[in-house]
Symmetry: C2
Subunit: 331 residues, 2 copies
């Protein structure tokens, strides 16, 4: 009986097959099939993936990729979860997983769309909130510049910056994304860093200099931004997509003298640094979302199979906001 | 009568004759003689220089160099100052100057030595205090690494760090200075950054990694320090002596990914950023000094003529602590 069930039921997963050179491409992933776990132990929950968050992250070669996933409970040996409930957690990129109940949180789809728990109400929202509020410390009237502005985090940072009364300038990489930032999200200005006159355009967009730079990109783009940073300004290092390489190999202008001459603060962070403040931040983000003060921007690809494609750099050009893959057999 | 006095009485000053390439050398300065001002206007004070602070600073070519100077009041048209009183202020490198009374503060030589008002109780003390306390935020048990540790600021940072219960590791550039830091100031360890095994020695001196890096030097020395910085550590950028060049030309490893991966804060500052907190900081520093908890380290050259020499890089190797020039005709 046991043998029969093991051979008939399999789960599909994506494994990182080799170390990506720069950002991962399709061929860096391998789809594998493995037998499902038959019998749950005490406090285990079987979940079926629904929405998979796709983020720039480091994974281990040979292991199943993991990210935040919104899933449905298919079976439960935990008193806290019932079959059919929607939950979220750091789950593998598998169609089906068995996870410990203390790694699973319920979500309330009366309060927000399921996918929004991966964006505004997930790590992206918290990164935007903590980076801007805890490090950027925005003050009304200040100028906030955001790189990667049309991304999951950047698009939220700009909207939150507006709520604080900042002049919000978004840096992105195409005409369509520029339009999106100003016409749709109401940024005060948007710029294409690929423009030949980027530095001059940035200067014009920031007539009072820059007080906060929320940086998700880094590299030479940042060199241009640093030129216009004000005395006592803040640089929030949220990501460095431009340098997916290792720490040691990326060179550029030494920043210390710039920080010294203008008393600039530069700080890297991760959401877990602010673990104790997560509940309060989530409350605030939920309030803003339900009040319509901020909105979620998502690019959703349909089909579990598209996870590798969603991770690859060629998607970057067309995507807006949070990149999500939705399993095909769910509505 | 007026003509006679003008021709007979002159004051000597040092002018920056040409833009230094890197740190200033003797030939960058020119000694000039000019007639003294005969008649003081209301609220003016005539001062004779006593102790001149020598700091790495940017001066304008063709102008008389300025720094903090302890001086004696020789004549006063201000009700606040009497002849013979000792005062301090940002005065020119002149044997005699006429200054506005609101640019002059009295010092109390019952409380501290006159020269200490340029060091512990001057800009160096405030830089050490604000950099370490406001940015470094030391916690007992943390490891504090200081570059330029035997200098005016660094030697104080280490002593204050010890008061906060930190493990204090000083980086300097000679055996004598290393000895001075550990044997005399009681640093827990000291290192020579010119050692072939500097990075390994640093790792050994910091078995728990580094929580605070107080940086007065920068450059490749900092690359070694950054390797051992802990998660949530702080880098205080107080000076960048290694790069006296302009902002634009100094390259090295891009630091942003390092800051991001370990949630590191890096911040430049100047004392004036904390203007409102100066009285409280001075009170604390005076208390520590009079209680013998911190001590002043000074290298004093005797003779007004030696100001250019005191500023030049060849002095760097032999000096300890605050560099001061004492006018010859004063005790």
């Amino acid at each position: 009986m046991d043998d029969f069930r093991k051979s008939s039921a399999t789960t599909d997963s994506f494994v990182l097959a080799k170390r990506p050179v720069g950002a991962p491409v399709l061929s860096d992933f391998k789809r594998i099939s493995s037998p499902v776990i038959q019998e749950l132990k005490e406090n285990e929950v079987r979940v079926h993936g629904l929405y998979y968050s796709v983020d720039p992250a480091e994974w281990n070669v040979g292991e199943v990729v993991k990210s935040e996933v919104v899933a449905r409970v298919a079976e439960s040996k935990s008193s806290q979860f019932r079959v059919g409930e929607l939950v979220i957690g750091e789950f593998p990129w598998s169609t089906e997983s068995v996870v410990l109940s203390d790694k699973v949180r319920k979500i309330d789809i009366q309060k927000a769309f399921a996918s929004e728990y991966l964006g505004v109400l997930g790590q992206s929202g918290l990164a935007a909130y903590f980076g801007l509020v805890e490090i950027g410390k925005p003050i009304a009237g200040e100028t906030l510049v955001i790189s990667g502005a049309s991304g999951a985090v950047g698009s939220l940072v700009g909207q939150i910056g507006k709520l604080f009364g900042c002049r919000v300038v978004g840096i992105t990489s195409s005409e369509i994304k520029m339009k999106f930032l100003t016409a749709h999200l109401g940024f005060h200005a948007s710029l294409n860093h690929l423009s030949d006159h980027f530095s001059e355009e940035l200067e014009q967009a920031c007539p009072n200099g820059i007080d906060i730079y929320f940086d998700d990109v880094g590299g030479s783009l940042s060199d241009s931004v640093m030129k216009w940073m004000n005395h006592l300004s803040r640089v929030v290092i949220c990501g460095q997509i431009s340098s997916v390489c290792s720490e040691a190999t990326v060179s550029g202008k030494r920043i210390e003298s710039v920080l010294l001459n203008r008393s600039i603060l530069m700080q890297g962070f991760r959401v877990s640094d602010y673990e104790k403040k997560v509940p309060a931040a989530n409350l605030k983000l939920t309030e803003w979302l339900t009040d319509g003060k901020i909105e979620s921007t998502e690019t959703i690809l349909r089909g579990f199979d598209r996870l590798p494609e969603a991770s690859s750099p060629h998607m970057k050009a067309s995507k807006l906001g949070k990149m999500i893959v939705k399993a095909e057999d769910w509505l």
